[in-house]
């Protein structure tokens, strides 16, 4: 048994890390909710965003948190364009084709990055990367705490967009009833692209929050996508609040199980939890609904 502060710290750590997972998952769940496909390019987009943050740091000296403000619109635009001009036309609106196209895009991005940046691992050494917040015996990572707060803020924004704006309602409408949407004057292709754009913009934020504590190489995104899948299903596919809560839960489970079982089996803990939830509450812990 570990001393209480260690356990507490692990759980808080889990929450903070889970928040960033959640952000990746929110993008995924949005795209899933509307396009009904699992976006295999999500990881590659995250990697791309992380390289974006790194480039801005390396060549413009921009702080990663500031870079988020620059990168978010760029990723938004990129996501919009990729959906509108590649996935849309090449996918013919069929689930399987879209799936393959996103797979193809991820191959292109990953290897494009490999060609340009080689496979080197890059990191950003900010002066706050190692900073901790001391609360009694607890040492909390400062950049992680920032990540937590920023994630919450982003999630609230996404939620507001989805539930309080016409575009958001249109996104949810298109998810289930395309023809009906077109008949009330919704431009379905535009909404698809907006969804993809929104999902990609979330990744820009996630990338900015990750880079001070993590590294990037052309494969990095993959490590987060698998866990993001898990979160999406746990939370209920297409559910933004579900993704957020699912992310936090996974973070805590991962922390707890790696503290008590070791990291390798900690991963097992995530998947076992995942399987159990699916078997006993198949629509996810928080219900599937976008």
């Amino acid at each position: 048994m570990y001393p209480i502060p260690i356990i507490a710290e692990a759980l808080i750590n889990g929450l903070m890390l889970g928040a960033v997972y959640a952000l990746v998952a929110v993008g995924l769940t949005l795209i899933y909710g509307v396009l009904h496909i699992v976006n295999f390019a999500h990881g590659a987009f995250l990697t791309l965003s992380m390289f974006g943050i790194w480039l801005l740091w390396e060549h413009a000296g921009l702080d990663p948190y500031l870079s988020i403000l620059m990168l978010t619109p760029i990723m938004f635009g990129l996501g919009y364009g990729v959906q509108r001009f590649i996935i849309g036309p090449a996918g013919h609106g069929r689930d399987n084709s879209i799936l393959l196209v996103t797979l193809g895009i991820s191959i292109v991005i990953e290897n494009g990055l490999l060609v340009v940046f080689k496979s080197d691992t890059r990191t950003i050494a900010t002066d706050y990367g190692f900073r901790v917040i001391e609360i009694g015996p607890l040492l909390l990572s400062w950049p992680r705490a920032v990540g937590f707060v920023a994630t919450m803020a982003t999630a609230v924004i996404v939620w507001l967009i989805l539930n309080r704006t016409d575009v958001g309602k249109a996104i949810r409408a298109v998810a289930k009833e395309k023809l009906g949407a077109r008949l009330v004057g919704i431009d379905v292709n535009h909404i698809y692209a907006m969804t993809f754009a929104l999902g990609s913009a979330c990744l820009a934020v996630a990338a900015g929050l990750l880079m001070p504590v993590f590294y990037v190489n052309p494969q990095t995104g993959g490590a987060f996508v698998l866990v993001a899948f898990t979160i999406v299903v746990l939370g209920g596919m297409g559910s933004v609040t579900g993704a957020l809560l699912g992310g936090l839960l996974i973070g805590v489970v991962e922390a707890a199980s790696s503290l008590f079982l070791g990291d390798s089996l900690g991963q097992l803990g995530i998947f076992v939890l995942f399987i159990l939830v699916l078997l006993f509450k198949p629509t996810g812990l928080f219900g599937a609904r976008i």
């Binding site: 570990y2 750590n13 050494a125 901790v132 494969q219 990095t220 390798s264």
Partner: protein
């Protein structure tokens, strides 16, 4: 006088995929060696035939490694070197065996690679068992020499072939050496986070941490240790990747300071070392062990060709089995392959990051500096 036909040498390396960085470093070393051999007049016993390097990309996975080996064979190489990772090396040497194509593995460490009865397979570098034996012997000396001795140890390893294999061996041997193993923590590659591993260490506060993981995880680990203010007496990595990588040392000098590693490593004062470091720098990347190992390996192949006086595969295999070779930049004394194909004299070096540079501390023959222990 017509130039004799070039002798083709295959270099199998992960040029793409998650190990591509290692492939790149290896190919830099091999290319330098090829240039040197050819500049010195090629293979004299073959009438000055130049050697030509053909790179096969194993794409960081085993099937592609086998397929690339087949392609190298189609292209008519006389011998293949490289392999890098154990899984790739296993399937690739096997594929080469069908054609009696000699294959010298560079840095893959799994004991099972040699000793499968494949007569074409050789290994240049040390295997697991060789490396751990030496690493532990050095550790013992280090600790014996210290005033404030380390007693408790935590093992932190990646859960693949390499990390688990090492951890297994050490769990066997460390207790006999008087160390108490307080914790064994494994983690997956890639890892997203090391804070929970470090938290456990913080609560256990071991004297010594023995990590074995790939580069990215080591960096994450070392940075998190620093952040969480875990300060053991020493960090003693085995094949740790990072403590013998200049990238790490340059980018995170504080986290790197004092870290020790027992790894493949070139002789620091060998003239080729400086040249290779420069070549790596010219490519815009950072020096690590892959470069000198593959550099030396090409030289060994050139010597074998010279001695065999033939580019015939059987002749080369025979030569490799029976003759001695000069390992150039690698600290192996004389290269001699035993009946299983293992280079008997293969030897890892102990390095320590001191004042922002990587210094060899053991064995004395090659040492550049005295070890600093305990660090904290």
């Amino acid at each position: 006088r017509a130039q004799p036909a070039a002798v083709k040498i295959g270099l199998l390396q992960p040029m793409s995929g998650f190990l591509a960085g290692d492939g790149q470093l290896a190919s830099i070393g091999a290319k330098v060696a090829v240039e040197e051999v050819n500049a010195a007049g090629g293979i004299k016993s073959l009438g000055g035939a130049p050697i030509e390097l053909i790179i096969g990309d194993s794409q960081s996975n085993a099937e592609a490694g086998a397929q690339a080996t087949e392609t190298l064979n189609d292209e008519g190489v006389s011998i293949i070197t490289g392999g890098f990772a154990s899984g790739i090396s296993t399937t690739a040497t096997q594929a080469a065996a069908r054609y009696d194509l000699p294959f010298i593995v560079d840095t893959a460490v799994s004991d099972a690679i040699t000793g499968r009865g494949l007569s074409n397979t050789f290994r240049f570098g040390p295997s697991f068992s060789i490396a751990t034996t030496i690493a532990l012997a050095n550790l013992q000396r280090l600790n014996d020499a210290a005033e404030d001795k380390a007693k408790t140890v935590a093992l932190v390893h990646e859960d693949g072939l390499f990390g688990s294999g090492l951890a297994g061996l050490m769990q066997e041997k460390l207790p006999d050496m008087g160390f108490e193993i307080v914790e064994v923590i494994s983690h997956p590659t890639p890892a997203r986070d090391m804070s929970n591993v470090v938290l456990r260490l913080r609560s256990l506060n071991p004297d010594l941490i023995i990590p074995s993981h790939y580069y990215n995880e080591f960096v994450l680990f070392a940075r998190t240790l620093q952040q969480q203010r875990v300060k053991p007496k020493g960090i003693y990595a085995i094949f740790g990747g990072a403590a013998s990588s200049y990238r790490f040392v340059n980018e995170y000098p504080e986290a790197a300071e004092g870290v020790m590693d027992c790894n493949h490593w070139g002789m620091p004062d060998h003239p080729a070392t400086a040249k290779l470091m420069q070549a790596v720098k010219d490519e815009g990347t950072f020096y690590a062990y892959n470069t000198p190992t593959n550099y030396a390996l090409i030289h060994v192949v050139a010597q074998a060709l010279e001695k065999a006086g033939s580019s015939d595969r059987a002749a080369l295999t025979e030569t490799l089995k029976t003759q001695d070779f000069d390992p150039t930049v690698m600290p192996y004394g004389i290269v001699k392959f035993d009946e299983t194909g293992q280079n008997q004299n293969a030897l890892p070096l102990n390095t320590q990051v001191q004042n922002g540079d990587i210094k060899v501390i053991y064995p004395e023959d090659y040492a550049q500096a005295e070890p600093v222990f305990p660090v904290n």
